[in-house]
Structure formats: structure tokens, C-alpha cells
């Protein structure tokens, strides 16, 4: 699956790792572990689940990256609020929503790899 995503991004594995490392390095250079954790949160909550969800769209992968981040910044939290009407516990709601989003996203990537659609 990771290979598939990397090939979709048209970047090699080293570039991807370097990109993520740089994304975390800059804030941690100025703000230490807190900076790194904040940007890991941005990556895990907002970017990655939506990147997986949108990876089957017939658009360029670099576009998918930015669309995912922007949409994730609001839609993740909006869905979290909706789910939390049920649980009234933000930690539980984060867990449920993350499992759901990652689950659907991974399924879509897997389906694309196996069926090409």
C-alpha cells in the first residue's frame, strides 16, 4: 500500500521520507518536542486519513495532498463534533472517527490497487 501511495505521488521513497522529516524538523528546531508533536497531530488527524480517502480520485497526487490537508483541517473536526454528540467523550470520539476514516481510506486504496477503480 505504501509503495502504491509513493508511486502515486510520483516521488521516490527517499523524497517522501525527507519531506515528512523536514515537515517535522522545522517546528521541532524552533519548539522542540512540542513542535514535532503538533505537526505529527496535523499529519495524523487532518492530512493522512483524507489523503487515503481521496487517493482514488482521478486527480494528480500532489493536488490530493493539498486538498486532503485543507479539507481535513475542518471536516475531521466537524465529523468529530457530530460523533461526539453520541459519545460525549472527545478521546473516544477521536478513536472511533480515526478508525473509521483510516479504515475506509485503507479499503479504498486496497480496492484501487486490486481492481484499479
Amino acid at each position: 500500500m505504501a509503495d502504491n501511495l509513493i508511486s502515486q505521488l510520483k516521488m521516490n521513497r527517499i523524497s517522501i521520507i525527507a519531506g515528512i522529516f523536514f515537515f517535522l524538523l522545522v517546528p521541532s528546531f524552533f519548539f522542540g518536542l512540542t513542535g514535532a508533536k503538533a505537526f505529527i497531530a496535523i499529519f495524523l488527524f487532518f492530512l493522512l486519513p483524507f489523503f487515503l480517502l481521496f487517493s482514488h480520485l482521478p486527480i494528480e497526487r500532489d493536488e490530493t495532498l493539498f486538498f486532503s490537508l485543507f479539507i481535513g483541517l475542518v471536516v475531521y473536526s466537524q465529523l468529530l463534533w457530530t460523533i461526539d454528540r453520541l459519545f460525549h467523550n472527545i478521546y473516544l470520539s477521536i478513536a472511533v472517527l480515526s478508525v473509521a476514516l483510516y479504515g475506509i481510506g485503507i479499503f479504498l486504496v486496497y480496492r484501487k490497487r486490486t481492481t484499479g477503480s
Binding site: G19, F31, T34, F67, F70, Q78, L80, W81
Partner: protein, 539 residues
């Protein structure tokens, strides 16, 4: 985009992150005017509760009557923003493990996304040189910097969605007229999600984007003489509308059942003559610092208007549809600036001024197109024209960096230094209040020098606070609530904060405060004492 673009994006991210976090690098305490404190309290309260807030009756108690009475349907303690952005703060706190820094890193990061997304969009539509000529000046966008520092968080956040939302619609339309149905639908779905996202961030972005969308659709319609919709796709369109309303349903009572607290002071509409101006700045500069709306602070000089005109002319006479992306932005800006003429706002409404944050996106993009295109008119070989383009670009960026860049650095580096933001001693006071003052009781904070600072103490202490020199002692007050039963607040504690006055050397004010404190000491007991701050409790 290729590896060169990723390197540019990496540099844009690193440099803009360095710039925009300058106020936070040496001082990890929060900064902003009172709006920023108010907005912070929502996300902070979610973390504190361990759950997200209900629409009604669930706002932080520390807010008391602050902005209350705004909403007919949701009441005095109904939330005043759609919850997503506030939840983002909470997620940062939870995952970042700290109360202040992760949130402010998030604020800085989301504020710089405008320049990065403009790079991506311009790179896709107009190429490398116009993209870099747009993105670098936007790193130093003075209006966004001011809004960021002042704390109009939702607005700043919402406007960064504009480039990508506009791009997704442009691509949906281009795909439609290019007979690429799958791409059309994909971009349309993304457009819908981005429009919903920007709406949930701040409605002013939606106002701009709706107008922008109508204009760009009109441009395409005129060009192709065909409406950009297929009856066979009605199920998809219906599904998009359904998802949009599912995501945004709560914003309607929040945004549209207010009691009109936003109306300007001058109800008169704009004169017809103002239609012949780009923007009609009222005498009071929309109630904002004049630097916010001045052309000279946001662009390297008035000579750039010439560059802008050249860019517009080049776009108008260019072939293809890409020009619609930028020209629609200009038309939409003109229309939102002239809302008062159409009776949609008042001429001095500060919300008109806030639209000016969008302007540099389109102005710098058009200037970038002009700089990249102008050398084509020089009678040189293609290679020579390329060299000339890059030489012009370097010269332009050198001017931008030496003017806008230096201005941005100075502004961000010097903002909220020293006692102009909450100090460690005041943060300690807030923590003590949180832990020791009963939840239902408020605190009168005297001596703290500015309104935003005692508001920050109020928010961080999670208690309602006031600053009243008339009522030294236990007293009750009724908050001003429009159309709703009043909110009572009981103040039992009074804090005497000498820290700011001592730092400024204001001996006379210290003496006045000491006199008040000696009165308090006769009737109340001291419950908190540091070198420069003391708190008394009235029975």
C-alpha cells in the same frame, strides 16, 4: 509538480514558519487582542471538558456576558462559531501535550497555508515563475500578519481556503467543458467540501467564494455558450448538496439568527461615485489601524499598480480559460468591496476591510503573470527572453523582500514583547485563580495594563473577570444581554496586579492602586501573595 517544486514548498514552509512564529519563539505565552483570547477559550474549554460543546448552553463559564445575547435561537450561552476550528485547537492541546504552544503553532501554520496553496495553484495554472512571484510576497502579507497578531483567527483561517477552493471550481469547469466527466465530478466534490470547510471556518470566506463562483461560471458560460451542468448527473449534484448540508447544518442558526450586532454606525449607502474607485476607505479606516488598509504597507510601492494593470491587460488579451481564475477574483473583490453600494453592508463596516486580506492573493498573482510574460515582448531569442524573465523576477523579489519582508520581520519580531502580552507572573495568577476561586465567583483584576491582557487572564483562569475601579469589594453585576434574561456575575475576589505598572515605572498609578488595596485590606482577607500581585477575598 516535480522535485524542484517540493524544494520550493519546503523553503516556503520553513521561511514562513520562521517568520510567523517569531512572536512565539522567545516567549511561549499567548498573544493577541481580546478576540484571540475569546476564540482560544472555546478550544481550551473542549479540552477541559473532555468533550465537544453542545450548540446551546455550553460555552466556557469564563466568558460570562462577553458577546452574549448575540443569537436569538441559541441564547446567551449558545456557541458563536461552528465548532470545527475550535476543536482543532483542542486536538492540538491533546496531542501536543501543552495548553498554549501547540495551539499557537497551529494558528501560525494555518495562517501561512495561503501562500503555499497559492504556489501550488499558480504553479499548476501559470507555471513556476508566476507561482514563486506570488508565493514569496504572500509570506509577508501585511494584512494577514496584522489579522494574525490581532487574533481574528476564524477570518484569517477561512481566507486561506480561497485559493484552493477557487482552483477546484476552475478545474471542475475546465474538466466539464473538456468532456472529462470523472474529473469534473471529482473536482466538484472537492469544491463542495472546501466550500463547506471555508463556510464552517468563517462566513465571510463563503460570501467571497459564492460571488467568485458565480463569476467564474459566467465567464465559462459566455465562452462556451453552455451551462456547466448535466441533467444525467443530478444524483451526484443532489448527493453533493446533501453532504454540504450534513456538514454545515449547524452554521445556519449560528450565523443567521444573530440580533444584528454587526451593523456599522453609519447606515447610509455608498455614493454612486464610489463605484469608480477600487475601494472606498471611510474616514475612520473601518475602525482599524490605517496601516491595515493602506496600499503602501501591503505592496512595495504604488508603481506596482502599473504592473497590476499590465498583468490584467495581458490576461484579458490572452487565450484560453486560465485567465478566468484570476480575473474572477478581481471582479469578486470589486463586488465585495462595494457591498455597501448594494445595501449589503455599511461603508464603515470593518468586515469590508477584512476582505482586503484576499486582495494580495490576486494582486501578486497578476503581477507575477505580468513579470513572467513581459519579456516576451522584447525582441530577443527565446533563451534571452527567459533570462530576462528571471532577471526581472529576481529584481522584483529583491524589492519585495527588502520592503515587505523587512516590514514583516520587524512587525512579527517586535509584536507583543515585554509586558504588552500576559507575563509569567500574570499566568501564575491565572493558574492560582483557576485552582482556588470557586467556579461561580468572578475576579476583579486591577492594575493589569491592557484590556486584552486581563481578558487573557480571565480565559486562562477559567473564571469570569472584570476590571472595575468603582467596585472594590464583593459586588454583583448584570451583563448586558440583548433580548435574553440577564447574566448575573458575583465578584468576590479582587487582584491587585502591580507587575505592569512597576515595569513601566508608573509611581503615581502604583500609589493610587496601593490606596485601593489598603481599603480592601480592611474588609477582606489576603489569599494570594507574590512580590507584585496580591489577591483579596471578600466574605
Amino acid at each position: 509538480m516535480d522535485n524542484r517544486d517540493w524544494i520550493v514548498i519546503g523553503i516556503l514552509f520553513a521561511v514562513s514558519f520562521f517568520f510567523w512564529t517569531l512572536p512565539l519563539q522567545d516567549n511561549h505565552l499567548p498573544f493577541s487582542e481580546h478576540d484571540g483570547a475569546y476564540i482560544f477559550s472555546y478550544g481550551d474549554h473542549i479540552t477541559y471538558l473532555g468533550r465537544t460543546m453542545n450548540l446551546i448552553g455550553d460555552t466556557p463559564p469564563s466568558l460570562g456576558g462577553w458577546y452574549a445575547g448575540y443569537n436569538i435561537l441559541l441564547g446567551p450561552r449558545g456557541i458563536v462559531y461552528p465548532p470545527a476550528y475550535n476543536i482543532d485547537y483542542s486536538l492540538m492541546q491533546i496531542f501536543g501535550g501543552e495548553r498554549i504552544v501547540p495551539v499557537f503553532l497551529f494558528i501560525a501554520f494555518t495562517s501561512i497555508l495561503g501562500c503555499i496553496s497559492m504556489y501550488v495553484v499558480m504553479r499548476k495554472l501559470f507555471g513556476f515563475l508566476p507561482a514563486i512571484l506570488t508565493a514569496i510576497p504572500l509570506m509577508f502579507s501585511f494584512r494577514e500578519i496584522m489579522s494574525y497578531l490581532w487574533g481574528q483567527r476564524h477570518n484569517t483561517f477561512a481566507f486561506v481556503f480561497i485559493p484552493l477552493t477557487a482552483y477546484s471550481l476552475y478545474m471542475a469547469l475546465a474538466a466539464f467543458y473538456g468532456d472529462e466527466k470523472k474529473k469534473h465530478l471529482a473536482y466538484l466534490w472537492l469544491y463542495m467540501l472546501l466550500l463547506a470547510s471555508s463556510s464552517l471556518a468563517h462566513f465571510s470566506a463563503t460570501a467571497f467564494l459564492v460571488i467568485y463562483s458565480l463569476i467564474v461560471i459566467a465567464f465559462f458560460f459566455i465562452a462556451y455558450r453552455k451551462l456547466p451542468a448535466l441533467p444525467s448527473l443530478w444524483k451526484q449534484y443532489l448527493a453533493m448538496l446533501g453532504v454540504f448540508f450534513f456538514l454545515t447544518w449547524m452554521m445556519y442558526p449560528i450565523y443567521f439568527s444573530g440580533l444584528g450586532g454587526d451593523s456599522g454606525e453609519n447606515p447610509s449607502v455608498m455614493a454612486v461615485a464610489t463605484l469608480f474607485t477600487w475601494i472606498d476607505r471611510p474616514a475612520n479606516n473601518f475602525g482599524l489601524n490605517p496601516a491595515f488598509s493602506e496600499y503602501a504597507t501591503s505592496y512595495p510601492g504604488y508603481w506596482t499598480i502599473g504592473l497590476l494593470m499590465v498583468g490584467i491587460a495581458l490576461l484579458l488579451f490572452s487565450k484560453g480559460t486560465k485567465k478566468y481564475f484570476l480575473l474572477s477574483g478581481m471582479v469578486a473583490l470589486y463586488l465585495v468591496y462595494h457591498f455597501p453600494f448594494f445595501g449589503l453592508s455599511t461603508p464603515d463596516n470593518y468586515r469590508i476591510a477584512r476582505f482586503m486580506m484576499i486582495e494580495p492573493y490576486f494582486f501578486y498573482a497578476i503581477m507575477g503573470v505580468a513579470i513572467a510574460s513581459l519579456p516576451r515582448f522584447i525582441p530577443l531569442a527565446k533563451r534571452g527572453q527567459q533570462v530576462a524573465s528571471y532577471a526581472l523576477a529576481i529584481a522584483f523579489l529583491a524589492v519585495v523582500i527588502s520592503t515587505q519582508g523587512m516590514q514583516a520581520y520587524a512587525t512579527l519580531e517586535q509584536s507583543y514583547d515585554g509586558i504588552s502580552r500576559i507575563t509569567p507572573a500574570q499566568m501564575e495568577l491565572a493558574s492560582w485563580i483557576e485552582s482556588n476561586v470557586p467556579a461561580a465567583e468572578g475576579v476583579n483584576i486591577l492594575g493589569t495594563i491592557s484590556y486584552p491582557k486581563w481578558r487573557w487572564i480571565q480565559i486562562l483562569s477559567r473564571h469570569y473577570a472584570t476590571q472595575s475601579y468603582e467596585h472594590i469589594g464583593r459586588y454583583e453585576t448584570v451583563a448586558e444581554v440583548k433580548g435574553w434574561e440577564p447574566i448575573n456575575s458575583t465578584f468576590t475576589h479582587v487582584a491587585f496586579d502591580y507587575s505592569d505598572l512597576a515595569a513601566m515605572g508608573r509611581a503615581d498609578q502604583i500609589q493610587q492602586l496601593q490606596q485601593l488595596e489598603s481599603q480592601a485590606a480592611q474588609n477582606a482577607s489576603i489569599v494570594y501573595q507574590t512580590q507584585l500581585i496580591r489577591v483579596y477575598r471578600y466574605g
